[in-house]
């Protein structure tokens, strides 16, 4: 512990709450409060109701939730496969090649996601790669955006992986593919798991690129929140936002439970 005196510790707690509550907790609490009310003109919301939730878990909103979940899961799995593959390949490259790969996978992070969305739209609106108007263009854009994060976190873990394990495996007569499946990937599992959680959360909240791409029959939840609040239905939008938040947190919780089980090493 860095601070030993009792007073100092209390002061630190107070400072932490002072920053944390208004910056992180309060905005989320406001959303939750708004989702349960029909009116908010004074300091506090009024007219408590569950009606918004009834609307948020039915019909179009429910379809948007499944759309978001399917998009995020597909994009995360694809990103994890591509990102891990690229990270392992980059590790085997020379220093120069590795730097090139790092730069390449930084691009989707460095470029604003609106630009990524536009780029994907322009690139896939013409045959032979005509994806515009299908759900696949949304999933593709999400995959491009989150692969960068998957690559980065797996790449950091690959570097930290002790080569002694692979070498021990090779000395025992294991082919490189066998070493990959039985030693390297299992040892990378905690990082893969963390990367999966990160990709999923990012994809669930993606709005700007999605806005440029989504077809009418594939509207993810963030777009629905945006359109709802844009039309002025602030409280319905809040309820949908809470549903989005809850769904994301639930999946992340499940993922982190798997991680605790996988990180016995």
């Amino acid at each position: 512990m860095l601070v030993h005196s009792r007073k100092g510790r209390w002061a630190l707690w107070a400072l932490f709450l002072l920053f944390f509550v208004p910056l992180f907790a309060l905005p989320l609490l406001v959303i939750v409060a708004a989702s349960f009310s029909t009116n908010w003109s004074g300091a506090f919301p009024s007219g408590p109701t569950l009606g918004h939730y009834a609307a948020a878990t039915r019909g179009d909103a429910l379809r948007a939730l499944t759309t978001s979940l399917v998009t995020a899961l597909t994009a995360s799995v694809l990103a994890l496969v591509v990102g891990t593959w690229a990270a392992l390949a980059a590790h085997a490259l020379s220093k120069k090649g590795k730097r090139l790969m790092d730069a390449l996978f930084m691009l989707p992070v460095a470029v604003p996601s609106v630009v990524v969305g536009l780029a994907v739209l322009v690139a896939f609106s013409q045959p032979p790669f005509l994806l515009n108007g299908t759900r696949w263009i949304v999933i593709l854009a999400h995959t491009v955006l989150v692969t960068a994060f998957a690559y980065q976190s797996v790449s950091a873990a690959v570097v930290r992986l002790d080569p002694a394990y692979e070498q021990a495996a090779a000395s025992l007569g294991a082919r490189p593919s066998y070493v990959l499946w039985r030693v390297r990937l299992p040892l990378l599992l905690p990082s893969l798991n963390a990367a999966a959680g990160l990709c999923f959360a990012l994809s669930m909240g993606e709005l700007s690129a999605t806005m440029m791409l989504y077809p009418p029959d594939w509207m993810p939840l963030p777009v629905r929140i945006f359109t709802a609040t844009d039309r002025g239905s602030l409280f319905t939008g809040s309820a949908v936002a809470v549903v989005l938040m809850g769904a994301t947190l639930l999946v992340l919780l499940a993922v982190s439970r798997i991680r605790t089980r996988a990180s016995y090493r």
Binding site: D162, A164, A168, A170, S171, L172, A174, Y264
Partner: protein, 351 residues
Amino acid sequence: MSSGIRFDGVSVAYGSATVLDSLDLTVEPGEVMALLGPSGSGKTTALRAVAGFVRPVRGRVFIGDRDVTELPPHRRGIGMVVQQYALFPHLRVADNVAFGMKAQKVAKSEIPGRVSEALEMTGMAAYARRYPRELSGGQQQRVAIARALAIRPGVLLLDEPLSALDAQLRSGMLAELARLHRELPEVSILYVTHDQVEALTLADRIAVMDKARLQDCGTPQELYRSPRTEFTASFVGNANLLPVRVGDGQVRLGEAELKVDTAGVASGVTATLCVRPHLVGLGEGTNALRGTVAEVQWRGATHRLYVDVAGQRVKADVRELRQPPGLGESVALHFAPEDAVLLSAGVAADE
């Protein structure tokens, strides 16, 4: 099954730095060869060249009659144990030991028997269901040895296998390794270490390495009793190396005239006299050296005296003294003529 190792002019370089310089060395089938040297001497590089983890820029490596220089590690048929054990943390002890056999597609029915046989041999049978992190350092090392032996390699490579263990465990494991080798006489062992005790205890022959080169090679007795180079003499047994002027049947160190065997060294040159500290006695006697005490270290059973004689610091290990000499006191040391070796290598003509 039994196969030796042969280095044929093997050089390894990283960029412009040569870390192993044309090594020629043969490990006979069933022999224990220790590669002994300080860190950075190239001994681990030599072992890794056999394992296939470094690629020689020149020379060939043979295992048995097979030229393995171009083969990837997994096709060389070696067993290897490294300092940090490298047990797979996500696998239980039994699965760690079975790993090599599964990778080599040994018949499924055969694996459990061979796993328990290997664990039995290293005394780890009771720990088969544990994970590596639940074992102590010494136990992990036993599992690592069992894992390497389970694939029945013709060649076992040990890279400083005991240096992560404490002194007591180390001497226990040394005895274990000696026993294992008696039980598996056909396995050739290449044992890399910087610890001369390990090398002297375990090895049939020792190859002494320094500065990327092989300095000396011979049985432990040869290297210890009659070292050929100053480096061997000082690294194996930490000998006193005294510059002396060679006469006829005697040598001179300052004023002192010492009787030693001068066969093979011309009279009138400067040579190096090598005397082991534990063979130097305190008090008058044959070959007396008089000097002043510069330092006294009490090591329990022995006293290590550092005595300045004619500008040279002489080390003497004597049985614990009831009354050790004080610093600056004048004392006499002596040694028997047959306990000294005049090093023929590195003899320089007197200028």
